[in-house]
Each structure stands twice: as structure tokens, then as C-alpha cells.
Symmetry: C2
Subunit: 322 residues, 2 copies
């Protein structure tokens, strides 16, 4: 049932002492690791973890990287120079390197000891996609090292993920269109979330809005909101607020209450609306961001369509030297 | 020479095993802890660290909090409800709690085992202010637990900080005025930095621009810039870019090169211009963000003046329930 390349990586972990985990990638590939950091924080009794953008990781050079470190990296193309360098750097420190990529013969795959090729695209089964693989790796690690008992429930839950995605997408299809129609002329749209969901808000802000739509944005942490950012709110400021199912939901609910009272351009995606049949009750907080991310991708598609600005449009990325 | 309350906190640390450190606060008080996280990452050989907004910390409830944890908290008024709760939560887990505040009889001071009252305002000696106290605490910890040899150099360097601040402020006074004149009509200003300096960019974005000036903002990480945010750049997008002296400076320099080429509203604060006499060579990367922050405060003052929008203006904070 488990991906054979994930099993190989877990086998490698089981032969070593692992004291800390570094989650290392750039942009969207980094954002998809945030839920795993949340999970590690909540579940890991003795293994420390940190998440860094690849070049920050290399130059920051944390003193605890070494032979007892696991470094998980991700690059879709496997070509991101900073992430390839980070893999080499981690290996030079003696760390165990496990990379996720869509390209099995890429530079990242070559630079890493263990490679997991994930599936991608509208036809890819959710179980084999990047978010699912990340959870298989980190919960697998905790199963091996700390006797965490959630691994089998997790695998079982992830097997139901495709059906969850399909239901959520059809449930939110009309709302995605309505969002696009209402926001097509906006110059700035904030996103907001906390806990396991913050990475999804971050990804939508920097990859979808800023990169692919040239719309100003900023992923606001729902707890930090009340210590600065909320002063920007008025009736004309659009915010996309995510409400997940994890333990930080009260932070998101507080942000909702305030934003409803003083704002008029609020878009709420609430994970309590999802039909999560097949997903273990105790894991729903961890799974919600994956579903929120899938639904938000429809919002992105519809926005691009309504603005006549395809998601593939770039002016600098892959086009000019940087 | 060391603050007696800092010494008391260090004495308390020396009687206990400390396996991990949590840096817990909200908004600007959280931002001022980012350099300490950077320092801990680079210097701590065995002590793990994490930084969380207070309510995220409580609800995330990391599994590693316990009797071997040190939790450092900060609230200027000592009244921030989430941070007071976080202190109580940390104590309930058996952690050692040390709080920074300007108000020695505040709820946070009462809720914490050890309290350090820092100085504040234009007359406050830099050595006794919040950033300096944070470094005294974390380097003091590493001195006690890991025989880190930088503690005495640090104390010596921090004694020179006031003179560094004074020189930097007069050096940048004219540029602060010019910045304000050029940006007074902007609706959005991004900030950018990496490494030890990122918290300063974050603080300026969420506390100064969004909270105190109602200007849209977002602190972009200089490494992440090239994986999404840079696509927003054109000749009309204002960015404040910080260049520090720490090991991640190459990330900030790369962002500078690109932004100079494709943008026309770039404001650069480069720490190589500071006269850091009295600050140990090996500590200048850690000290630079403190000086950048001081200089940026002048930019804030001038911007508020030019816009006729005092930094004390609020529409929600302390005025309505939230």
C-alpha cells in the first residue's frame, strides 16, 4: 500500500539515529511542507524540526545539522538551484537526505540519497501527490522512532483523499466562479490562516496571487492579525480566510468574527463543510489543509479565467537571469 | 555589568536541564525575537528552538514542551492576553518561564517565574532595551549550557550599542526625510530581508506600515522572493530592502541586484554603512538588525509626519472589542 520509494526512505531512517528534521525547499514546494512541520510539532516527543527556504538553510547553517539529521527537500522540476545546493550541503554535513520531485532524473534526484517521485496533475491519484508523500514520510518517521500509532490510520485516510478532493471540488465549483467574478479587478487580496493551514494561505499569496496573477498579497497569520495587520482592514480590503479543523481553529474563528464585522470583502473557506468520509477523526486537522489547497486551486483557475491572465504567465521566472 | 534581573534568570537556567527554547510573543514583541532565533540556530549545538505567536504556541501545543523547556515571552505592556495565557500554559507544562516587559507589575510579570523589566523610549540606554536583553538571555544560556565563548564579547559589544545607534541615526536622518517625501502617497510598500534581519522587515511591515500607517505591506523573504513574489515587481512597486551583515547577506544582495534592474522605487538600508566601532567583528551579523531597526524607526517617524498620520493613530486596537 505504501509507495515503494517512501518505504525505502523509511528503511534508511530506521537504520540511523534521527535527532532532528529539516524541511527544506523554496516557494510552493516549501509551503507544502508547513503542515508536516505542524504535525511534527504536535506529535514528535523528542525529534526537533525546522523549516527553511533552501538558501536560508544553507547560509544559516544551523549548528545541529549532522549525522543525526534528516533533511527532506522538494523541488517539482528537481532543478531549483538553491534546493539542489541544499541537498549537497546537507550531505556534506552527514545528514540523511530524502527528496521529493516530479522528475526522477533531475539534479535534485541525483544530489539526494533517497528520491521519491510524486504524481502530479489533474489525473494524479491524491495518495501519490506531494502533500500525501510528505505525511507518509514524517508520520512514518515517528512510527519508527517514537512508536507513534497514527501511521496506519494515516495511510488509510490518505487512500480516501482522492474521493474527498473530488467531492470538495464539485461542492465549491460555483463559489470559485463567484469569487473570480467578484475579485477580477482587485489589485490586492490578503490571505489568512493559522496552524496546519498557514502554508496553504502562504502558497496562495506568493505563488498564485503574486507570481501567477500579479496581484499584491500577504499571508497574514490569524493570531498575528490582531497585533498589527488588522488595522489595514476596511470595507474595501479583500481577504481570503481559511478555517481548518486543527487545534488552532479558534484563532481563525476570532479573525473571522472581526473581519465580518469591519470588512465587506471576505471570502471564507471553512473545512467543516467538507465531506471527509474515510478520513480518521483524529487526523482531520492534518488533512484539512490539503483539501483547502485543492479547493483554492479552483479559485485560482477561475480567477485566471475571469482576468484573462493565464496561471502560466510570467515576466521574469524562467525568462530572464536572476 | 549584566542586568541583575537577567542574572537571576540565568541563575535559574543554570540549575536546570534545558533541551529546548520557545520564543513566544505577538506582533512587534515577536519580531524582536527573530534575531535570537537566528543566533540560537547558528550557535546552539544541542538546544533546539522555535518561535511562535503566543496563541499559535498555546493551541499548537508542541509535544516537546516540558520541564526541560525554557519559554521566553515578551509583551511591552505586559497586558497582551495571549502572551499572559502562554506564560500560564508554559508553567502548567513545567517549563521555566522568563518574561520581558516594560511594566514590572503587569499580568505577564505576575504570570512568569522570572521577569526582566527593560528600558524603553528615546532616553533609554540601548544596553537595557528589549533586543539587547534578548541577546543577553540567549547567549547567556549558551554560555552556561554549552560553554559558548561569545558571552563576554556580546556584553562588551552591547555596551557600545548606544553610540552605534546615535551615529547611525544622524547618518540616516536626511535619507529618512527623503524616503518620507518620496513615499507619502504610496498605498503599498513591501519590505524584504533574510536571516537575522527578517524580523525587522516583518516588524516594519505589520507594525509600522499596516498598523500605524494603514499602508498595505508584506515582509518578503529575500530567498523566497525568486519563487513567487518577484513577479509582482514593476517600476511602480516600492520596496524597502535591508542588507545586513550576517551569513545570509548573499540572499539580500541577490534580491538587490534583481530589484535594481526591474524596479524604480527601491529603498536600500545597507548595514555596511554603519560605524560599528566597539562591536566585536564576530558579532556584527547579529547586531546589524538592531541598528537597522533603529534607523527604520526614523523612517517611520518621518513617514508619519509627511503623511500627517501620527504613529499613534488606531481605528481598532485598544478601541473596539476583538
Amino acid at each position: 500500500m505504501i509507495h515503494p520509494q517512501v518505504q525505502q526512505a523509511l528503511d534508511a531512517m530506521s537504520t540511523r539515529t534521527i535527532q532532528n528534521v529539516f524541511l527544506v525547499a523554496c516557494g510552493g514546494s516549501s509551503a507544502l511542507m508547513y503542515p508536516s512541520k505542524y504535525l511534527l510539532d504536535r506529535e514528535a516527543k523528542s525529534i526537533a524540526s525546522d523549516l527553511y527556504s533552501s538558501n536560508e538553510f544553507i547560509h544559516r547553517n544551523p549548528a545541529t545539522i549532522g549525522a543525526h539529521s534528516l533533511v527532506i527537500l522538494c523541488s517539482h522540476s528537481g532543478n531549483t538551484p538553491e534546493t539542489v545546493e541544499a541537498a549537497k550541503f546537507a550531505r556534506s554535513k552527514g545528514a540523511l537526505t530524502v527528496s521529493l520531485t516530479h522528475e526522477p532524473t533531475s539534479p535534485l534526484a541525483e544530489a539526494s540519497e533517497h528520491v521519491i517521485t510524486y504524481s502530479y496533475g489533474p489525473e494524479a491519484p491524491a495518495f501519490e501527490t506531494n502533500y500525501s508523500i510528505m505525511y507518509q514520510l514524517v508520520v512514518g518517521l515517528l512510527s519508527i522512532k517514537e512508536e507513534n500509532e497514527k501511521f496506519h490510520q494515516l495511510l488509510h485516510s490518505l487512500q480516501s483523499l482522492q474521493a474527498v478532493y473530488d467531492r470538495a471540488k464539485s461542492q465549491f465549483a460555483e463559489r470559485a466562479k463567484a469569487f473570480a467574478a467578484a475579485h477580477k479587478d482587485e489589485k490586492l487580496i490578503y490571505t489568512m490562516a493559522s496552524g496546519a493551514n498557514f502554508g496553504v494561505a502562504y502558497s496562495f499569496a506568493i505563488c498564485i496571487l503574486m507570481e501567477m496573477q500579479w496581484i499584491h498579497s500577504h499571508a497574514i497569520h490569524a493570531g498575528e492579525y490582531f497585533h498589527g495587520p488588522f488595522e489595514i482592514l476596511d470595507k474595501n480590503v479583500p481577504i481570503i480566510l481559511l478555517l481548518g479543523l486543527d487545534e488552532t481553529r479558534p484563532l481563525e474563528e476570532r479573525a473571522l468574527q472581526f473581519s465580518k464585522q469591519y470588512g465587506e470583502k471576505l471570502t471564507v473557506l471553512d473545512a467543516t463543510e467538507f465531506d471527509l468520509s474515510g478520513v480518521d477523526e483524529g487526523l482531520r486537522g492534518y488533512i484539512a489543509p490539503l483539501v483547502l489547497n485543492t479547493v483554492l486551486r479552483q479559485f485560482a483557475n477561475e480567477l485566471a479565467e475571469a482576468r484573462n491572465h493565464p496561471l502560466s504567465t510570467r515576466r521574469y521566472m524562467w525568462k530572464v537571469p536572476y
